[in-house]
Amino acid sequence: MGYVAVSGGSEAIANAEELLTFYRLKGGASPIEVRQIREQMRLAVDKVMSEGALYAPTIAAIALKQAEGDNIEASFILRAYRATQPRRYYSLPADTGKMRVIRRISAAFQDVPGGQILGPTRDYTQRLVDFSLLEESPETVRAFFDRIGVQTSRSDQLPDSFPKIIDLLRREGLLVEPVDRKETLFDITRESISFPCQRSAKLQSLARGETGVMMALAYSSMRGFGDIHPYLGELRVGTVPLCINHPAKEQPVYIGRVLVTEAEIISEYYEDEQGKPKLTLGYGLCFGHNELKAIAMGVLDRTMQSRSPHKSPAEDEEFVLYHIDGIESSGFSAHWKLPHYVTFQSTLDRLRRTQQLREEATASECNREQRRDPGKTAPGL
């Protein structure tokens, strides 16, 4: 008899956890330093901070190490850690015009005030495997720095603020004006969202959404499920200063800078409240350097403003907002690994009953046929 009533759950769980550590280290290479992840897996750390909704590069790096590089798992670890942190202050609105940029481009105009700043990007590199990285060593790194000269880093020469492209369009009356909805800011971590959804709640949900699913939804709209033809008005990556109001201080208190990516998506014009046709805007902003997410967020912010009576998936705010959270969707998708013996038994019960009813119905159908035509015999009887 191979049945064990109570499986050795505790022991199995403990063993599974040890096995994880074993698999992480069994190759024999020296353990990765958290600092190495933080500095050299920069974009992975940024994605984890953005989807984990906590700006904490070192903890995000630890989470990545702990999760063996699994981005969603690391984001989840960070998000769960975030939930235990007391919420002392809300930061004041950050002015991204004051961003210290490392990268800033516009696809709408060739030449823009402040100039196009390409910054660190893979956009124009050829995606060839760089086999020289196999040989990377402290010596090659030193040689690289000697060659480019660390002290003359380009970013030091850039100004502390850049004019915003959308302001140019606004000045000309081509772009919708921002609407002050006089709403109290919603806090999606303290209240569950409801529909129609406040814009602050939408933007917060998007800002911590999972990059891949946001990209897929935005892509569906660009491809044809929807009617959004976006222009990237401006994409900027850089650090913005954050301030809080402190009860003991009269002036706002500066608490530090965070690296963010911001995308402003210009799209289809609509008539504004005065009946004047104007371009519309979608806004994307996320922690860290994550251009695909910021662009997808800008597009989705815009698709959800759609006035179309026949909403495509990306235009349906409930569809978008309920499905972009990576922590929620991964948790539920993975929960099918849990035992479902009880419910499956219940389903089998219904199926067997249905099959039985079918058979009975077929049998009585045969009987009726037989009565009508006594000369005919059912096959096999």
Binding site: M1, G2, Y3, A5, V6, S7, G8, G9, S10, A12, I13, F76, R79, A80, R82, A83, T84, P86, T189, R190, E191, S192, S194, F195, P196, E318, Y322, I327, E328, S330, G331, F332, S333, A334, H335, L338, P339, H340, Y341, V342, T343, Q345, S346, T347, L348, D349, R350, L351, R353, T354, L357, R358, A361
Partner: protein, 296 residues
């Protein structure tokens, strides 16, 4: 000496670094406020903030948050998954609760003050001094017929359950029977249609007019609801197509011989023969122990 409780001593086993029962007090208070509203409006889904826990969404975080918000040092806790105390997920949830509260635990339903469960209501009748906390994956019974939360909320508001009835009717036309297995839609207090969580139909009647308070938590969907004691819970049915529990007649548990429990179907590893065993492992163990005592 006056019996004031202000300076309740911190239990000795409380872990360092985390608050008692893991959640911070603000989060607990919000859940508590919502619980009172859930009890006051039986079957109605109250939205709550539902912060992340160190357990994945969809793995019992709703039930867990309710337990964390109600549990105290004097409680005795039982955690089951599929009716079983030893199931890995039950073990994991129990470990987290014990680590952060230091409470005593039990496998015996009758000895517990709080039972947290996934997919089952224990076989032994529960009492007025106990609370049953159910983990819920999908709190909305109308999801069968309507995907949009905004619309289902309106349907509940207007008590418009016509589409659910049509769904059941079409079910009968197609299959000759209502084909819903677990998660059987049930009307609470003649007002709100409720998803009783994916408990089998076997367990649904146990919720009705029971002396126990039942609390339902859906963490990922951020909803709390309740069935108070002595509250009518009626599975939807037609006069000529009655609600029916799962059929186990002629079957008995291979461990304890019970013929009146919800059973899991098993296959003997060697012979491939189909066997049955109680899904409620605590009750099954208790029956076996009693049989052994009698045999001695």
């Amino acid at each position: 000496m006056s019996a004031t409780v202000n300076s309740a001593a911190t239990p000795a086993r409380q872990p360092r670094g985390y608050n008692f029962a893991f959640l911070d007090e603000n989060t607990k208070r919000e859940i508590r406020r919502k619980l009172l509203k859930a009890v006051a409006i039986p079957g109605y889904q109250v939205p709550f903030a539902s912060p992340e826990l160190p357990i994945a969404r969809g793995w019992g975080t709703g039930g867990l948050q309710i337990t964390m918000a109600i549990i105290g040092p004097e409680d005795v806790l039982k955690v089951i998954d599929q009716g079983c105390d030893g199931s890995v997920n039950a073990v994991n949830i129990r470990n987290l609760l014990v680590k952060t509260t230091g409470v005593d635990t039990t496998f015996d339903t009758t000895a517990a003050s709080i039972v947290q469960t996934r997919h089952r209501v224990p076989e032994e009748p529960m009492r007025a001094d106990q609370i049953l906390v159910l983990q819920v994956p999908i709190p909305e019974p109308l999801r069968y017929v309507e995907a949009s939360e905004a619309k289902t909320r309106e349907m509940h508001g207007e008590m418009d359950y016509s589409r659910m009835w049509v769904y059941l009717y079409e079910n009968i036309v197609q299959y000759g029977e209502i084909s819903i297995g677990a998660r059987y839609p049930s009307l609470v207090n003649r007002r709100y249609l409720m998803d009783p969580s994916p408990i089998p139909r076997w367990d649904v009647p146990k919720l009705s007019m029971s002396p126990t308070l039942h609390l339902f938590g859906a963490g990922r969907e951020k909803r709390i609801y309740a069935v108070p004691p002595h509250t009518l819970v009626e599975p939807l049915e037609f006069e000529d197509f009655r609600f029916r529990v799962e059929e186990f007649s002629g079957r008995s548990c291979l461990r304890c011989g019970a013929t009146d429990t919800y059973m899991n179907e098993l296959f003997d590893r060697v012979s491939g023969q189909k066997l049955y065993a109680c899904s409620d492992s605590g009750y099954c163990d208790k029956r076996r122990a009693a049989q052994e005592r009698r045999a001695d």
